[in-house]
Symmetry: C2
Subunit: 495 residues, 2 copies
Amino acid sequence: GGGRAPLAPTPYNYDRRLGELGGGTQASQRLLAYSDALFSIIATVMILPVAHTKIHSDEKLGESVQQLLATKIAVYLMTFLIVTVAWAAHVRLFQVVELIDDVLALANLACMMSITFLPYTFSLMASFPNQPFGLFMFSSCTVIIGVIQVMIVLYGFRHSYLLNHQIQESENKAFYKYHILKIILRGPTLSFLAAIFSFFFFPLSYMFLGLIVIFPLLSHLTKWFRSRILGQEEELPVDYFTSYLKEPLSKERVETFSDGVYAIVATLLILDICEDNVPDNNVVKEKYSGHLAEALREFGSSFLAYFGSFVTIGLLWFVHHSLFLQVTKATRLMTLLNTLSLAFIGGLPLAYQLTSEFAEKSYNEIEAIQISCVTIFFASIFQFSIWIAALFHEVETLHPFARYGGKEHAFMFAKLSLYPCVSLAVFCLTCVMSELSTTIFHLTQIIIPFAFLVLRIFVRIGLMMLNYIMSLARSKSNVLEEEEAACLSPADVLS
Amino acid sequence: GGGRAPLAPTPYNYDRRLGELGGGTQASQRLLAYSDALFSIIATVMILPVAHTKIHSDEKLGESVQQLLATKIAVYLMTFLIVTVAWAAHVRLFQVVELIDDVLALANLACMMSITFLPYTFSLMASFPNQPFGLFMFSSCTVIIGVIQVMIVLYGFRHSYLLNHQIQESENKAFYKYHILKIILRGPTLSFLAAIFSFFFFPLSYMFLGLIVIFPLLSHLTKWFRSRILGQEEELPVDYFTSYLKEPLSKERVETFSDGVYAIVATLLILDICEDNVPDNNVVKEKYSGHLAEALREFGSSFLAYFGSFVTIGLLWFVHHSLFLQVTKATRLMTLLNTLSLAFIGGLPLAYQLTSEFAEKSYNEIEAIQISCVTIFFASIFQFSIWIAALFHEVETLHPFARYGGKEHAFMFAKLSLYPCVSLAVFCLTCVMSELSTTIFHLTQIIIPFAFLVLRIFVRIGLMMLNYIMSLARSKSNVLEEEEAACLSPADVLS
């Protein structure tokens, strides 16, 4: 636990502060965990209309997928990214306002309720792209969210015992107040502009929406550019807490948010298997003369698809979990890569739906497998790149075990590269072979956990062999040196 | 933090132990939180088929609800209770096996995957009550779960550094091993018996299923009966850890499980509003001549229903959160009451569906409101009874602030009794008035947060008035005493 940020309040002080403040003031952990769960649900929920789009078996998947891509997937991705931005602002806000009371808890719930409405406004925007009404609703939602969050900040600074104690003791409270207000009001302002421009010129308003997603990244890049290239430093009050503002999002909340996404994806699968795969009583009586087991055989392929997809999600969570156990601090870049990985994780219900629907040697079987592979590949390659990004600053971001040369390094590398390799290999197979059944695909998915179990052994054998080869090479070079020495020595003698 | 159980390992020791053990061994918090999320999803998911049952507006709700009650609600409740029992066994298991490694993490995921299948087997059992196949699948599921959990225990006791360190140091390891195996194998054994009897005599096998749910309660009652009435004590090894076995479930995991249920109920609402309430493009063009805002007015009542239901769930979570902030330890009875409360919380999507469907003065409007009131009433009255149960052992279960006479006591009381009172009042109103629109009902739901905000003021005024009356009464009695004294004194003088 030596890698924790030294600025975080220690539990002991925390409890003592609460004890002094009395029962009305509360620690915020559980509220934040619940908010994170809701945020991840709201971010992922729009994959459902995508997954539930009915595609007829006789239709060619390629074209209908193109139509999907045009609207529903765009809605899903846009929702995911915008909700993630709102989540990041929420994290920042509650890094400043550390304790809550009943008023703040209720205000936060009101804020969450407004956020739940965002996916709906996006569906409206996608279904009626030529009407300004969807955009108008979206921007009024964000304005309401902004107003509530501003109220939370003002309330927090009025009752300053609720604030982070380093801000409390700071002389530059006003600076922090405006800094956090700036972060919070960025989104609402941009969407307000978007709503205004929607009456004049549409493309510009969509550009503003895009800007909401890119803005944090953009401002970070310009800052980096200024400090690295031009050598200018931002003017911040010289204060102990200043470094806190530059700190990335807290690792705990990144974990809870990610867990939420993985759990909601698992939920969507469970919902699907429970609702759609119970045979009708009359059908069983007439068609299978009452034999339930035979009737269920019809659903065999979708059970297999369910198990395959569930195993994949479980293992991707497992890899994420293993990775974040070794991470001590999540930088901005790592958080961004994590968000991208999660966006593809959210796409897995679509992959499940496609592979379970086009199981029986239909026209689109290969396409369904390919889409699944692509989704899994991107989800896992972004996980892998979190690891790469962490390795660049390994001293501050990773536990010693996982750093280069640590005893877990090679194993972590193998764990993270398993899914990208397998999904890429299967994708290549589908290109070469014209027939690859979904059954084989799902069986591959189910076998992979065993690969994880034997991975440690493989890595150990691999390392041993590497050591052996290295030592062989070294001993050979030693022999050569000795030979050289042997060759030289007579000469020495001769000379 | 003085109220924490003294047996829990302190974070410092924990980290040090992990440091000594190396990277393969991991803290289990995040795995357990993820498992809790999945457990709560699996427990709540079967409300969806209930909520999605189509009821025609011209049909009388009373009869169709009876049919619902007969099968789908029974499936939901049975799933909820059995999954909760499985969750409790899981909590017990990971109180003994405290640290995990990759093998255990994967085994746990396999276990979770088998548990996700339980709701499906229940649907089969409910749809085909006369065929033994559903029961057979259910019991094979539980047997698989049991086998995996036994493997986890055996693995844990083989690699004893993974165990709770008090068990590690104990001389009676074998006792703990058999104790935890007994808890784990209870469910699978009973369901195995149920599967066997399903071939001979059905009612007996359903009785066995019921026994799975009641067994923990039953064994606890008999133990209590034996110790209190007959004075017999169980023979346990005299050991420091013994008290740990009698300890209730950890409060943290009860909280995570509850949060999961509240979050999944919110999800089901969000899913519903996002999928069903986007108007069709062609309909808008033809019917409303392209005016989106007018087309949306049609959905007005379901937006209102959504906001009303979301506010209700949010506030019930808020009450739960406030209550558990004051709770230091959750006893068995409190956990049981919490489970019952959550079972009714899970019923809220049904209430939402009914009130949003029968909005427009249809035949069943009153019935829909009544069902909502009953659901909310039971959810909140069980929350209230958690508080009552806690007050019986207030010294060990509650923070000093919330105990009788503490400064938060009256306010907590008011918070917890708000929802039972309001829902009961609305229910009575529906009985008296023949017409009460869902609009008014939802507006009531939306107003309640403000009631919470002013509650503190009301409680303060109430307490002040109480004090005033008490002091008046006291001063009156003082006056009387003085008068008596005054009456007496002349007599004294006279005597």
